[in-house]
Amino acid sequence: MLNVGKIEEGFVLDHIKAGKSLDIYEHLGLDKPDITVAIIKNARSPKMGKKDILKVECDINLLDLDVLAFIDHSITVNVIKNGKIVEKKILELPKQIKNVIKCHNPRCITSIEQELPHIFYLADAEKEVYRCKYCEEKYMEKAK
């Protein structure tokens, strides 16, 4: 059994689908700030069989929960302060996400307009469908 030490302040992202932790690491931009991150892959889970866990030691205001919810809203977010869990956050699909994903429609104005943000809105919460604000093209990769 692998042992990863406690963190004093930061987040433990639990119940990540097995194999998805690196995607989340990338989307949250955890490679950029100078912080300690533990990526635990394929941990045993009674609920999920196998799961990934991310332990992030950082200022608790650093994490963009909207981005996380967009990637996978079933992830459990434990907020840690003074080495203890002080809060469990429930993630909800964000109504709108900005500059997280790009519109791949070559006919969309975002493909040519200078510095235009890529904004997607939640078109169908049940089916988790996001559409580009400008051309309304469906974001496909999330459905995979």
């Binding site: 006919r107 104005i109 975002t110 493909s111 200078q114 580009c132 604000k133 051309c135 309304e136 093209e137």
Partner: protein
């Protein structure tokens, strides 16, 4: 400030007010001949579109206003690489309202976000063409007297035709509309529209041959079936005549069935039926001017 990006931007109640105004303009054109005096419409057309642009220009001119603009991207600053955001900021200094057509989808929305004046989407790629839909609705409402309780056949290219998609969405807000989709297998209505109709429990059927369903229709919306949309020449030759409306087929139709078409027509409606009282496509072009007049007045707050 209000813009028009999609035909669904207006509630059905707001559309009623708009259509009542358009009908009043039709009845009393003199009343509105100076309504926009001193106002300027900018027609920013990044791709050519003779009818839509002239319809807007005619609308503003008939309201006593003036028109400035460009009719293709090469004669505008876009050719020098200017962004839509910058162009609209400048146009806002020159005009009171803008109608924009752009090959890129969502461009008029970018303009609306940065604009100091109302922006009307005059067609953005394959995405939306709201004033065509408003034209279609006004034509139906005026000639049929209602926007509910009828069976409408949509015929031709139902896969790529944005006017068809917009019209289906717009009509799906009214009661007791029955859709009949008539197209070759390759050009069927996209799945997302079928899903929307199922979710709303709106009745529809899909058929390949026009003559089979003609007797049941209260209205027929024709579109062009283009040869290049087919996978092979054989299918095109086999199917093309199914989608041509001629005198023979018109004999199967109800006596008060309306024939609509967004124009330009190529050969899908034979010229021999142009004089048939049921042919409403040229009246539709006239209603296009009235609805744009009503829209300009409404967005300028002059209605």
């Amino acid at each position: 400030m209000r813009h028009l990006m999609s035909p669904l931007d207006f509630t059905t109640k707001e559309l009623d007010a708009l259509f009542n105004l358009a009908n009043d303009i039709e009845m009393h054109p003199d009343k509105y001949a100076h309504a926009c005096e001193g106002k300027i419409l900018a027609t920013c057309f990044y791709e050519p579109s003779t009818r839509t642009r002239l319809s807007f220009e005619s609308a503003m001119t008939r309201l006593g206003g003036r028109v400035i603009g460009f009719s293709d991207a090469n004669s505008s600053s876009a050719a020098k690489g200017e962004s839509v955001s910058d162009t609209i900021r400048v146009i806002s200094c020159y005009a009171d309202i803008c109608a924009m057509r752009h090959p890129k989808e969502g461009a008029p929305m970018v303009a609306a976000e940065r604009s100091g004046i109302p922006v009307i989407n005059a067609g953005d790629g394959g995405h939306q063409h709201p004033t065509q839909t408003l034209t279609d609705l006004l034509t139906i409402r005026t000639l049929k007297g209602r926007l509910n309780n009828f069976t409408i056949g949509l015929c031709g290219d139902l896969k790529f035709g944005r006017t068809v998609h917009s019209l289906i969405h717009a009509l799906s807000r009214y009661e007791n509309i029955n859709f009949v989709f008539i197209s070759p297998e390759e050009l069927r209505v996209p799945d997302y529209i079928i899903e929307m109709l199922k979710e709303k429990n709106i009745p529809f059927e899909e058929v390949v041959r026009l003559d089979e369903v003609l007797p049941t229709l209260d209205m027929l919306y024709m579109t062009r079936v283009q040869k290049e949309r087919f996978f092979n020449e054989e299918d095109y030759i086999r199917l093309k005549d199914f989608y041509v409306l001629n005198t023979e087929k018109m004999q199967l139709a109800k006596e008060d069935m309306l024939v609509l078409h967004p124009l330009p027509r190529v050969n899908e409606i034979s010229v021999e039926i142009d004089d048939d009282p049921r042919a409403a496509y040229f009246k539709q072009a006239q209603y296009g001017v009235y609805v744009r007049m009503a829209l300009i007045l409404t967005l300028l707050g002059l209605a």
